[in-house]
């Protein structure tokens, strides 16, 4: 018996991928939870952020801050392109447009015509070079020795920056949502005509919210690719639905919900993987090791169903903030 999987599951708590998912979900919470924008293309925002960062840093050799700005600018432009034609329409149209736009991004970057810049279906490697170059940590491996929780300086660096960004995003959302700006945003979620009748420029607020959440999605894309290479197929619609799962887990209109939701989502995946493998090794489960991957997601899916039925507001949510019950 190998208890290592428990350490691996614990490791998920500060994994940079988990941070990236949390960050993207915070963006989604601004869109869906607070403003009521049904954005089904958050994966597209992540892709735009990731590509803008990787292309500028790897292909064009921009300095790190330039690449970060490019990711932010890219997500902003993407939000404007999506929002200006659709935000005047009913909410469902935005969801259709965003889901299509995210797929357009993913399929476009894969076409051979753009592969000189985007790397085609191969993606882009080594986007973290400039990022790791400014790593202030000394070289070496740190962590709890004797467990898998030992990382080198670059792994620690991305963990610190990734979770630092998550903390900043949480602070931002907290400050915004207790303010009059947040009040207008939440009013729009409830009834935008009422807010309009009170003299607020609803369209402008929706664009602001779309940009803000989109930029967080773009930054999540950057955090996502720093520890790995950029792969276009990571940004399918499945990614968006994982983010929705995380959001519903934590609570759709909460500040910390996305963080906790993301951790629970990944820890659950990791734990069930370990437990299933144990069961298979012991001959208890009539499964093969290749089947454990899909089974994990089935378990997450069932958990999500139970959650939506029995605690639809999520772990942190207030029942009143719920708009699908």
């Amino acid at each position: 018996m190998n208890g290592n999987f428990i350490w691996l599951a614990i490791g998920q708590i500060f994994d940079p991928t988990v941070a990236a998912y949390a960050l993207a979900t915070i963006g989604l919470v601004i869109h869906f939870g607070f403003t009521g924008l049904l954005n089904f293309g958050q994966a597209g925002f992540m892709a735009v952020g990731g590509y803008c960062f990787a292309i500028t840093s790897v292909i064009y050799d921009w300095p790190l801050w330039g690449s970060f700005l490019a990711a932010i600018a890219g997500a902003t432009v993407f939000a404007l392109i999506l929002g200006i034609p659709t935000l005047r329409l009913r909410a469902d149209y935005l969801s259709i447009v965003t889901i299509a736009a995210a797929e357009i991004i993913r399929l476009s970057v894969k076409t051979p015509e753009f592969s000189e810049v985007t790397g085609g279906s191969e993606g882009i490697n080594g986007a973290a070079k400039a990022f790791n170059a400014i790593n202030p940590l000394p070289e070496g491996r740190f962590g709890i020795m004797g467990t898998p929780l030992v990382y080198n300086q670059d792994q620690w660096w991305i963990r610190i920056v990734g979770w630092g960004l998550v903390a900043l995003a949480c602070l931002l959302v907290f400050l915004l949502m207790r303010s009059p700006w947040g009040r207008v945003i939440m009013g729009i979620r409830e009834d935008e005509d009422a807010v309009r009748s009170l003299g607020k420029n609803v369209f402008s607020y929706k664009i602001q919210a779309l940009i803000l959440g989109g930029v967080l999605g773009g930054l999540a894309g950057v955090v996502f690719i720093l520890p790995r290479s950029l792969q276009p197929d990571n940004y399918g619609t499945q990614l968006t639905f994982f983010l929705y799962t995380i959001m519903l887990l934590g609570g759709a209109a909460t500040v910390f919900g996305p963080v906790v939701g993301s951790i629970i989502f990944w820890v659950t995946l990791s734990l069930t993987d370990g437990l299933l493998s144990l069961g298979i090794e012991a001959g208890v489960l009539p499964l093969t090791t290749t089947q454990t991957g899909p089974i994990r997601f089935i378990i997450v899916g069932v958990a999500l169903m139970l959650l939506v039925i029995f605690r639809p507001q999520g772990i942190f949510g207030k029942k009143k903030d719920l708009h699908f019950a």
Partner: protein, 333 residues
Amino acid sequence: MPEKTLVSDITDDVIVPGVKKKDPIVVAHAVSRRFGGLTAVDVAHLEIPRGSITALIGPNGAGKTTFFNLLTGFDKPNTGNWTFKGKSLAGVPAFKVSRMGMVRTFQLTKALSGMTVLENMRLGATKQGGENIFVSLFKPLWKAKEDEITERAMQLLAKFKLDTKKDDYASSLSGGQKKLLEMARALMSSPELVMLDEPMAGVNPALTQSLLGHIVNLKDEGMTVLFVEHDMHMVNTIADWVVVMAEGKVVAEGPPSTVMSDPAVIDAYLGAHHATDLGTIEGQLEVAEDMESDLVRSEVEHDAEAAGIAVPSHEPSPSTDAASTPVDGEEKK
């Protein structure tokens, strides 16, 4: 009975639909709105007098709410122009119309149910710098204004007897309370023209009286009120001026007493006993006298005698009629 604005203060001209007002706050000219083949609104000329209460009445489908939507920028007309305080409003979006001082409520109440009553009220305030995304991040920049807004919100809530509910979610309010909240919220911006779309719909009779009082107060505070309403009692009681719409057109306007006796209006909309107050036994008696049904009449007369009101004598008709005659829906509200 509230003090009414004199007709001579509203207009000097001969009263015909589209008559010029001495001091109009809203002037609409040749406003039309078509939905496919249907012309929902086709108003040749209409002026709303400043500082008074104007009622907009008409049968269902007359285009009253559509006209409201057009005036407030929630819908765009096919033709026409209209001004508010002398400024053209054609093509001005709804939120700017509201900022100019023309605030509306909705026929189907739009209380923001997921927010507390107080937050609903605060949202109605204008000039809160904290509604800018960058300013909003720094609480000291908007805290003072927020306190000011909260104070005003509490004053208004107290006036509308909702102050004890300030921390309740708007969804927990009753239909009538939501109407009150919506009206109070509209007043947060200190508008010059308040447009109420069926303020009485779904409000219980006990609340009606206080709602009427609130509307009259708005006028006393110098605001102009334009409201759509089907309740003739309310129109008679508080309106200084009545505009009647039918099939999208303004068919009549004038002070309530004149309009209510206009045969065209009676035919189109009001029915013979429109001016009778069914809230009183005298009123019920008057209607019952004209009815075919003996059952209703004897019931009302019985009530009247019990209340010590003189019952006019009449020839009793065969009581068999009572069972066969359908009871007119007018005898009870």
